[in-house]
């Protein structure tokens, strides 16, 4: 087990290095850079800019160096915790990202928990009661859930909230708690707003997970070891929980790792619809104004989040399935 953990953790670093390279390339792709867009703005205001000033500006942002050096500077800064400077907000990136990343994390994790809590019992139910009315109903709902883009779901919820309950859904805080320091009341306010993004982000994943669990469980239900356990006299409910479910849950755990990128993606778009103070909206803003350090940091942090999440899911899987541990 220990060697597995070590290999797996060490294996994460080349992956992250590779990802950082991709992210760097992606944010370098747009034609022009922050200097050209600044110049455009200044010229539009009638400010004359000399070639010398342009040079200075470039040197100030290290844009006159060759690409590999720029990459190393960026990646190196990232490791030491210095994520650069956001031109858009004229503040260090560090000051901008953490709170938003925190909210992203809260929404993603709660959506993940929601997925688990809902998909697990429903998946078991639909498999054990295969072809029952409940199975058909739940499978149909899952199919619809799978096909509904989560921003559409958010829009529909907003409509329903307004038309039926007369409330406006959106944001993570009520206006009076928007900009105040953390208190218990603010936390309670957050929780009362959290459930909507949680459900909206988590629903698609719930549908996928439920279907996967159902299929896996159906595969396992008639395996010889289940019959053996039945013949041994294990009682029905314990039988299903201890034997087939325990095996069927393994692919389920590994899907959870694959679910993370989807959840983070979903969170990004839902946040824009519901106007949540998370990474998504700020990333879009940064991308549109070519604020490279800010956009790059967000992309990188989100990638780190998924990679670490997948690592955790792999480790949980190894803990749950001795066959992997002993490989």
């Amino acid at each position: 087990m220990r060697s597995y953990v070590v290999t797996r953790v060490l294996g994460m670093f080349p992956t992250l290095a590779f990802i950082s390279l991709i992210v760097f390339i992606v944010i370098q792709l747009p034609p022009g850079d922050i200097v050209t867009s600044t110049l455009d703005r200044m010229q539009a205001q009638g400010v004359e800019v000399s070639a010398e000033q342009v040079q200075n500006l470039r040197a100030q942002y290290n844009l006159d160096e060759p690409m590999p050096i720029q990459y190393l500077r960026w990646a190196g800064g990232f490791i030491t915790g210095d994520m650069g400077y956001s031109y858009l907000f004229a503040r260090p990136v560090n000051e901008l990202v953490w709170e938003r990343l925190g909210f992203t994390l809260i929404i993603t994790i709660s959506a993940l928990l929601f997925t688990w809590v809902v998909a697990l019992p429903l998946g078991i139910y639909t498999a054990v009661r295969q072809y029952s009315i409940g199975d058909y109903v739940l499978t149909t709902i899952a199919l619809i859930g799978l096909a509904t883009p989560n921003f559409l779901l958010a829009l529909i919820l907003m409509y329903i909230g307004y038309e039926w309950f007369g409330i406006s859904i959106g944001g993570l805080f009520s206006p009076e708690f928007q900009e105040v320091p953390w208190t218990w009341a603010r936390l309670r306010d957050l929780l009362s707003h959290l459930w909507i993004p949680m459900v909206v982000v988590g629903l698609g994943g719930t549908a996928v997970t439920m279907r996967i669990l159902r299929a896996n469980l159906l595969d396992e239900l008639n395996k010889p070891y289940v019959v053996t356990a039945r013949a041994k006299g294990v009682r029905p409910i314990k039988l299903i929980l201890k034997y087939p479910l325990r095996i069927a849950i393994n692919p389920f755990i590994s899907t959870l790792g694959l679910l993370l990128p989807t959840l983070i993606s979903g969170e990004a778009i839902v946040s824009m619809v519901l106007n949540l103070p998370t990474t998504g909206p700020l990333l879009l803003q940064a991308l549109l104004s070519q604020d490279m350090y800010l956009a790059g940091s967000f992309l990188m942090l989100l990638a780190v989040l998924t990679v670490v999440g997948m690592l955790i899911s792999d480790l949980v899987l190894a803990w749950a399935d001795p066959r992997i541990r002993y490989e």
């Binding site: 008639n222 010889p224 053996t228 041994k232 006299g233 009682r235 095996i247 001795p322 066959r323 002993y326």
Partner: protein, 316 residues
């Protein structure tokens, strides 16, 4: 005679896309107490289905249509297994407690994610009101008895770390750990290497002598029957063709199908000779018509047209 199991007119249907298949069609036989009864037949003859009926393990699309299995435990009153309700506490007591089963596939009969110790001890915890420590201790003793060495370490190992023969020993230990009155072995050696087969058979026989329980042994291998069984039930296409002591059936088979089976054993054919097939031996003998079992003077029963068994009288 003192029979621990009396199977009467057992019929099982399997409903599939293309219609109803009669897996068992009026099967009757007895399992005498303290003896080894073997059910012999080719694949599809219904022998495994019969075993699963005794454990009430038949699952949809299969269904027990009719018949009875009278079970007479050494303590308590006899009852019919077939008519037990799903929630009847006696059914739970039966499975693994009074009757237990060893399956054909040792490679898949154990869950890969639990230790050997856990799975064997669970059988005890399912049926007896004892603590985990006691269960663990008894499981250890049983595993030593079936010949698992280095037991302290092995208890904590997973099935995939065991060889096929070892796993089958574990399954046998799991079946015997509650000291059941009947042990059903459903082709327990088919999936094993020949050398391992012999070891496992010896183990089953020795344990049966030691514990004195009744055994229902299902196989297609007449060699195994000769080694192990006291009584033989020959099945074909969901019916019983012949019942008798192992001597009667193997020395002087009455039914043409049994005769065919015996001649098809490789060891009995001379070198250079073509191995007999069932078809070539049975010829056009009538083995598919469901004649009722007829009891002969020497106690054996056979399914043949009444006039061809002089002196025979219908059984029950």
């Amino acid at each position: 005679m003192d029979n621990i199991l009396q199977v009467r007119d057992l019929a099982v249907d399997f409903t599939t896309d293309i219609g109803i298949t009669k897996a068992l069609n009026g099967v009757s036989f007895d399992v005498p107490r303290g003896q080894v009864t073997a059910i012999v037949g080719e694949s599809g003859s219904g022998k495994s289905v019969t075993a699963n009926c005794v454990m009430r393990l038949i699952q949809p699309p299969g269904r027990i249509v009719s018949g009875s299995i009278q079970f007479s435990p050494s303590q308590g009153s006899p009852f019919d297994i077939v008519s037990l309700a799903d929630k009847d506490p006696r059914l739970h007591e039966l499975r693994g407690g009074l009757i237990s089963m060893v399956f054909q596939e040792p490679m898949t009969a154990l869950s890969p994610v639990y230790t050997i110790g856990n799975q064997v001890a669970e059988a005890i915890l399912c049926h007896r009101d004892v603590g985990k420590a006691v269960a663990w201790q008894e499981a250890t003793e049983m595993l030593i008895r079936v010949g698992i060495e280095d037991i302290e370490r092995r208890m904590f190992m997973y099935p995939f770390e065991f060889s096929g023969g070892m796993r089958q020993r574990v399954v046998i230990a799991m079946a015997l750990v509650c000291n059941p009155e009947v042990l059903i072995c459903d082709e327990p050696t088919t999936a094993l290497d020949v050398t391992i087969q012999a070891e496992v058979l010896t183990l089953i026989r020795d344990l049966q002598h030691e514990l004195g329980n009744s055994v229902l042994f299902i196989t297609h291998d007449l060699g195994v029957v000769a080694q192990l069984a006291d009584y033989v039930v020959v099945m074909y296409q969901g019916r019983v063709l012949e019942i008798g002591t192992v001597r009667q059936v193997l020395k002087t088979p009455m039914h043409p199908y049994t005769q065919g089976l015996l001649q098809a054993i490789p060891g009995l054919a001379r070198a250079g000779e073509r191995l007999a097939t069932i078809e070539s031996v049975v010829g056009d003998a009538d083995i598919t018509t469901p004649y009722p079992l007829v009891k002969l003077a020497d106690g054996r029963q056979v399914s043949l047209p009444p006039q061809s068994t002089p002196g025979g009288q219908e059984s029950e």
